[in-house]
Structures are given as structure tokens and as C-alpha cells.
Amino acid sequence: MIAFCEDCGNKNHLPDQADGTKRIIFRCSRCGYPNNYAVQDTPHPDNMLAYDHGHEAFDPLLGAISALPEIDGSFVFSNADGLIAFNMPRLFSEKQIKALATLLEQTYEGPKQVYRGIKDMVLVTQNKAVLVKSLGRSKFLVVVAAQFPLTAQIMEKLNNLIASFGKKRSNRTP
């Protein structure tokens, strides 16, 4: 199996794990980082288009979020780098996701200049909701949901995934 290093993003080839393995532990062959993280047992559905532009760290997060019921897909973008990673239904092209990311960024950033302390944004349309959550200073997580509000159970799972991702990243920061 292939496992990505959480620190440097290197692809590591590991022996196949026994069925039911939920956590993989290995030392990165390139940087030596001791990886220890949960493995999602829900594979990406075939109808999902996934891409992680040199930031493989986001792939497990986006895969897990997009596999949740009520969620259509998710992606990460930043002010500086644009679209970084996505896991979205195939009906969206990469170009469309980039355009969506740009518009969302402009929508999200505008009021921040005037209204202090803005954290997250939700855009509610007739049949979808788009949640924009800040992942630090310049990166944003976008979750496209089939409904809003999400059920409490799904919202909790979503928040837990984001929180544990943030925790892993802050643990890696010296």
C-alpha cells in the first residue's frame, strides 16, 4: 500500500495491511518522520475526482469529509496558491472548482475588512450549502453540502475531522 508522510508528503510503499487496519505507523523513507495516523476505511467513491497539488496532507481529510453522508465534496484553497486539493463530484471540472474557489474567497474576504472576528462562512442556495472554514492564516476548507443545516451528527463528525487535522498539523510545527 502507499502511505503519504504527514510531514513531507513523500509517498511511502508499505507492506499491505491486514483487513480492518484502522491506523498505520511507519517512519518516512525520505525525511524519517514517525507517522502514526488513522486510515479511512471508506475509499473514495468512483465518481469522485480527487487531486492534491503537492499537499498530500489534505488528501485524507478531504477523502473523509467527502465520504460523509449529506456532503457532496470538499476542497482546500489558499489566497496565495489558489486551489490546493479537492475531492469533488466528477460533474465539476477543475476549472469550475477553481472559479468557485475564487468567488468564495472574494465573498469571504470582503466583510472581514469591516466586521471583526469573522471565522466561518456559510453560503445557502436553493438546493446546496457551501461551508467555508479557515484553516489557519491563508488556507480555507470548503465543504459542499446537500442541505443546510447538516444534521447534528454529521456536523459533529465534520468538526471532529477538522479539529483532529488541525491538531496533527500543529503538533508537527516546531
Binding site: T107, G110, Q113, Y115, G117, I118, M121, V122, L123, V124
Partner: protein, 109 residues
């Protein structure tokens, strides 16, 4: 239109509305309780226009959560945009539904 704008007083009376701002382009059409309305007008109308171009059918509302719990809601109102700051502790979704209903009653949307 003036009658409709006057009808916006209904919005101010909704429990949980701390301030509101109706904006057309960069012009403040009507404000209630908003400090520096001109300063806020541009950001409200800009984000509403961007949000409106995301989906073909437009958008219903935007909700910006804030650390101080005075969340910001933005609604498209024809070619205008309505920005609302809610009181702390108010259920944002219930408030959004009440505002949508009030706008419908005024025949704005």
C-alpha cells in the same frame, strides 16, 4: 419602492436583529442601529454580488460566524443587499428564516 423600504421597519422589529443595513451599490438605502453604515455598505453589496454569481439561481443568504457571537447575515433583496447583525445567543437559522419571511411579506423577494 419607498413603501417597500419603509416596510423594512418590520425587519428591525424581529427579535434578535441588532442592526441592519440595506444597500444599493455603494449607497446606504436604509440603516437601523448600524455604526459607520457607509463603511459597511461596500463590503455588504460586494459580497452579495459575488455570492449571487456562484449559483445560477442566486443565493438565499450568507452567514458569517463571528468570535463575539454577533453573527453577520447577508440577504439578496432584488438588486439590493441586506446585511444584518444578530444579537448574541440568537439562533441564526431561525433568524434567517424570519427575515426571509419578512422580506417575502414586504414583497421584496
Amino acid at each position: 419602492m419607498n413603501k417597500k423600504i419603509k416596510g423594512l421597519e418590520k425587519i428591525a422589529r424581529i427579535k434578535g436583529v441588532r442592526e441592519f443595513l440595506l444597500v444599493d451599490e455603494n449607497r446606504v438605502v436604509k440603516a437601523h442601529g448600524a455604526k459607520d453604515p457607509e463603511k459597511k455598505a461596500e463590503s455588504i453589496i460586494n459580497c452579495s454580488q459575488k455570492a449571487g454569481s456562484i449559483s445560477r439561481s442566486g443565493y438565499q443568504y450568507l452567514l458569517f460566524s463571528r468570535e463575539n457571537q454577533n453573527h453577520l447575515l447577508v440577504f439578496p433583496v432584488g438588486s439590493f443587499a441586506l446585511g444584518i447583525i444578530q444579537e448574541k445567543g440568537v439562533n441564526s437559522l431561525m433568524l434567517a428564516n424570519q427575515v426571509k419571511k419578512a422580506l417575502k411579506d414586504i414583497d421584496f423577494i
